[in-house]
């Protein structure tokens, strides 16, 4: 039952890769049409994800499992904001826009702000000069932390210059090698998918 989907993958992948190199406007129109279709498929994938979220929390609620009142919070906010957003819009000034600024925005940014505390504690406990490599990493990190902020030049006027060199030479070299490696990996994986060698994305039969 996978032969059909594999053929779809081959045809769509090969077509888009080939159309990239054909500048004729008709070819590009076809390319754009195929790309636009993926937007719609993606939107439905998000609807599917939300349905799955609903199922997971509704099950907890029905079973009165541990923490079910929190699942109720998720379900009410999911349905309420979806319905209000579809009905009244999502722009700045709309009810959902205001909820977004009041609820989503502070919650999301504070979740990530917690990481400042965690990274400080982790650096204190785990950042050890146990080997030449670890010492090199540690010294570079300290020089970067101090040298890239305003206090750096006050400690030593040479620090900003040192950080520029570290970024422009050893960092650039390593990051370039990683970029080339990632590029080669991505191209080979894409080719394996298009040619039907890699099939795990279709799931188990």
């Amino acid at each position: 039952m996978r032969r059909g989907p594999l053929l779809v993958t081959f045809l769509s992948g090969a077509a888009v890769a080939a159309l990239f190199f054909i500048p004729h406007h008709q070819a590009q129109a076809v390319n754009n049409k195929l790309l636009e279709w993926t937007l719609v498929v993606y939107a439905f994938a998000l609807i599917l994800g939300s349905m799955s979220l609903w199922n997971s929390h509704a099950r907890k609620l029905n079973a009165r499992a541990e923490g079910w009142p929190f699942s109720l919070v998720t379900l009410v906010s999911l349905v309420g904001i979806t319905a209000l957003g579809i009905w009244k819009g999502v722009g700045e000034g709309s009810p959902v826009g205001r909820i977004y600024n009041t609820v989503n925005s502070p919650l999301a940014s504070t979740m990530f702000a917690l990481l400042a505390f965690v990274i400080a504690s982790a650096a204190f406990r785990a950042f050890r000069a146990r080997s030449v490599e670890a010492t090199l990493l540690l010294i570079t990190a300290i020089v970067m932390m101090i040298g890239r902020v305003s206090i750096g030049p006050l400690i030593s006027p040479h620090l900003p210059g040192v950080t520029e060199w570290l970024l422009d030479v050893p960092n650039l070299a390593a990051k370039r090698a990683i970029a080339v490696g990632v590029g080669l990996g991505a191209v080979s994986t894409a080719l394996k998918i298009i040619l039907g060698i890699e099939r795990s994305y279709l799931g188990r039969s």
Binding site: F20, T74, M144, L202
Partner: protein, 202 residues
């Protein structure tokens, strides 16, 4: 005003996790998941489904949009275990298109352009020394990532030097990661001190 108080309350709910996990944090966490998913759906409705499906279909009579609509609806079949086979067609199309897009994109921007820049002639003076170091770093780090041969002999020496380049790069990344996380915290504290408690000038 009331909105600032709600935002401050939710901010403190999340920060309370630093002491230990508690019902306030779990409330904030669950509210965040539900509201983020709801917002996402509403935005998709207004920005994708209406302009790319509904409007062309109802105003322009463009029947071609029925194809992506059908593929999208087939994706929803995945919610039932028996519908996995139907959803596979949509996934196949989506993965196929993105694989096709990836090949020329990565080849051009991350492989050819980077190697072309690495192969440029070295300028005279200190800039030339730096360019040579970048070239040596590129070759040795690639040697480190090449696992088809054991890291012995000249290959082993190259890989060893490559590790040193990588460590400096990771150290730089760590320094910048600390910077990023601290910035996020500064912003939240600015909100609490200025917008909520009015202890800072606007």
């Amino acid at each position: 005003m009331i909105e600032t108080w709600i935002a401050a309350f939710l901010t403190l709910c999340v920060f309370s996790f630093l002491y230990r996990e508690n019902p306030f944090y779990r409330f904030a966490e669950h509210l965040f998941v539900g509201s983020a998913a709801g917002y996402l759906l509403a935005v998709q409705w207004h920005n994708v489904l209406i302009p790319n499906v509904w409007t062309p279909l109802t105003r322009g009579g463009d029947l071609v949009v029925l194809i992506p609509l059908a593929l999208g609806l087939m994706m929803l079949a995945r919610i039932w275990s028996k519908g996995a086979g139907i959803a596979r067609w949509s996934i196949a199309f989506y993965v196929g298109v993105y694989s096709g897009v990836a090949i020329p994109g990565y080849m051009q921007a991350q492989i050819f352009a980077q190697l072309a820049d690495a192969a440029k002639p070295w300028p005279p003076g200190a800039a030339g020394v730096n360019a040579a170091l970048v070239f040596i770093g590129l070759i040795t780090v690639l040697a480190y990532f090449f696992f088809s041969l054991p890291h012995r002999g000249i290959h082993g020496v190259g890989a060893r030097i490559g590790i040193y380049f990588l460590m400096v790069a990771f150290g730089a990344s760590f320094g910048y990661t600390v910077m990023a996380r601290v910035s996020l915290l500064i912003s939240r504290v600015q909100f609490l001190l200025r917008d909520w408690l009015h202890l800072l000038p606007s």
